[in-house]
Amino acid sequence: MGLHGWRLASLIGAALVGGYALATAVSFFLGQLLPVGRSEATLIGHLLGFTFYAVAILWVFAVRRPGKAWLYLSVASIVFSVAGMGLRG
């Protein structure tokens, strides 16, 4: 028996919401890491954002465990956001 019902809905939610959070956080973090100005950092983030989003979505469906997906994506999003904020100063 595969994944179904609420657990499947939770997995889809993790992919869409968690993936979105991670994509935004990583895009922001990457912009701060690179030695470029503020506008350039923002543009680079936008160019790559959807790649991170898609990768995150596929990762969630490869893992197939809603709890794990939510946990990892939340933690990673927070870590990248905080690191980005730290780098921005």
Partner: protein, 548 residues
């Protein structure tokens, strides 16, 4: 257990099965919207040609002109129509992207004699008169539907369209992952084998145009990025509106523009500025002349280069002081590497640079993409009906629903597009809201086709709608001949390629639709005969639409 009657379980199997599940559901959930986006977006590669077909009163476009004379005609027109304006924008008829000379203005003073506070006019360069033509949404409204949709607020549209595009991107990646034999599928098509044929067709269409599909999807996402991921801007510039404005200012604003000094000064003649620009870019390569605060001491004139020699969506701009004529800035669009990459993606998406052969390739790639989405939707239903009928003799409600949406959209939407063109010729020319009614005609027709699909038997619905679609497209040249004097014979003999091209293209769409309807009808009749003689074969024959 009970709540998952329509969505399959995510399989327990390997990585590839999971990716297949994602591919199936990402594709299906936004499939009909993506089909709509592909149809209207593909038409957009001939947006200005469709504009011109929809305004048959306009003379053939005067591409090729003397820039000095054109600029002076437009300048006089602006002084007459829009005194005291904040901005006059002159567009020169350089190529198919801008077939007619155009004046746009905003912030004009109606008390000083301006005809409106804001407006635009197509200008006849020989007489200086406004070119009059029927009101229409034209190719512009049609192509804008692929990202503005219609009847929706912009606040939601960007999110809906971006989500659909994201799902498309995910479907493309998972499609590549679940593919075993990418090279072999280039050459594999087994017709008349039901589900297998639909899968082959879906594969061939997707594999051959994969680079185009990836480009168009990812660049589409980049277009919508600022709306869809606003937090990236917010994190860098602050979450309030001011931060956002600051970011846009840094990246997109033209340098050197200022507030008016509220002190009058006469505008410098355009001649020397035009000469300076042409000496940099070459003759006839000025696309736009943008005059800010004409008649003010702080007037600025921005001269922009044509975009036909670069894939990137932007081109060079020269910013002059509008009183002294001093060159203030030479501002390339790609002000930084990231902006350059962004411009290249957006430029590839829009294809404004494309000469005729490349433009046709864009159009055909778009049609194949439309086919990819359409075959994907049909494949979903065919496969499930086969399995369900094998197991319990009938298809579940979800499958029936998808089948009906498929007929009503895959065939019904193109009929709606044809109705958009029919309305352009049949609505009264002086109807005030005729541009809106053209669009209403399109969506009402689509609605009628969906209702038809809902109430007719499945296979009848396909043939009947295909017949309607075939007639709707094939008869457009006749309608054009009856309602204008620019009929196909006339346009072919005089070399009016916009009109000839439109008429021939709709024929090239209509005739195969008719042929498909005919083949389907014949196959259905054969099946009925087989049914009467051998009832046992009925079920198997009914299983698949693909055999037709």
């Amino acid at each position: 257990m009970a709540q998952h009657t329509t969505v399959d379980d995510l399989p327990k199997g390997g990585f590839r099965q999971c990716m297949a599940w994602v591919h199936t559901w990402a594709g299906l959930s936004f499939g009909w919207l993506l089909f709509f986006m592909f149809v209207t977006g593909t038409a957009g590669y001939f947006d200005t040609e469709i504009d011109r077909w929809m305004q048959p009163e306009l003379p053939p476009a005067p591409i090729g002109h003397n820039v000095h004379e054109s600029a002076s005609v437009l300048l006089n027109k602006a002084r007459e129509e829009a005194p005291g304006a904040e901005q006059w924008l002159f567009t020169l008829p350089v190529d198919r992207n801008e077939p007619y000379a155009q004046l746009f203005w905003r912030g004009a003073n109606t008390e000083a004699g301006a005809s409106a506070e804001r407006g635009e006019r197509l200008v006849d360069l020989n007489t200086g008169e406004t070119l009059q033509a029927r009101e229409t949404g034209g190719g512009q409204k049609l192509y804008q539907m692929h990202w503005l949709l219609h009847y929706t607020s912009r606040a939601y549209t960007d999110w809906i369209v971006a989500t659909a595009t994201l799902f498309m991107f995910v479907a493309l990646i998972t499609g590549v992952i679940i593919h075993r034999k990418i090279f072999k599928d280039f050459f594999t098509f087994r017709p008349r084998k039901g589900q297998r044929s639909w899968l082959d067709a879906h594969n061939v269409l997707s594999v051959t145009t994969l680079p185009f599909q990836l480009m168009i999807t990812y660049s589409g996402l980049i277009f919508l990025g600022f709306s869809y991921m606003p937090l990236i801007v917010a994190a860098n510039y602050g979450a309030d509106g001011a931060g956002r404005t600051e970011f846009y200012g840094e990246v997109f604003s033209t340098p050197g523009l200022t507030e008016p000094a509220e002190k009058s000064a006469s505008l410098i003649p355009l001649t020397t500025l035009i000469d300076q620009a042409e000496s940099r870019w070459g003759e006839g390569r000025i696309r736009r002349i943008d005059v800010r605060h004409p008649g003010d001491a702080n007037a600025r004139i921005v001269v922009s280069e044509n975009i036909d020699q670069t894939i990137a969506s932007g081109a060079g701009r020269l910013v002059f002081d509008g009183v002294s004529g001093e060159l203030l800035h030479n501002a390339p669009s790609a002000s930084s590497p990231a902006k350059g990459v962004r411009d290249a993606f957006l430029g590839l998406h829009e294809g404004l640079f494309a000469p005729p052969v490349v433009r046709w390739l864009y159009f055909i790639s778009g049609l194949l993409g439309t086919g990819m989405v359409g075959t994907g939707l049909i494949l979903w239903a065919v496969k499930r009906r086969q399995n369900a009928e094998r197991k319990r003799g009938s298809a579940p409600l979800g499958v029936v629903l998808v089948e009906k949406l498929n007929v009503g959209t895959v065939v019904g939407l193109p009929v709606g597009v044809a109705a958009y063109f029919w309305a352009n010729r049949l609505l009264p020319v002086d109807l005030a809201t005729r541009a809106s009614w053209e669009a209403h005609a399109m969506f009402l027709t689509w609605l009628v086709m969906l209702v038809h699909a809902a109430i007719r038997p499945r296979q009848r619905a396909w043939t009947e709608q295909l017949v309607v679609a075939a007639l709707a497209f094939s008869a457009l040249p006749i309608l054009n001949a009856l309602t204008t004097d620019r009929h196909l014979v006339q346009s072919l003999t005089t070399g009016d390629w916009v009109f000839a091209g439109f008429d021939l293209t709709v024929l090239a769409i209509g005739v195969p639709l008719g042929a498909t309807a005919w083949r389907m009808h014949r196959a259905q009749r054969k099946r009925r005969i087989a049914e009467e003689s051998q009832p046992s074969q009925t079920q198997r024959a009914n299983l698949s639409l693909g055999e037709t």
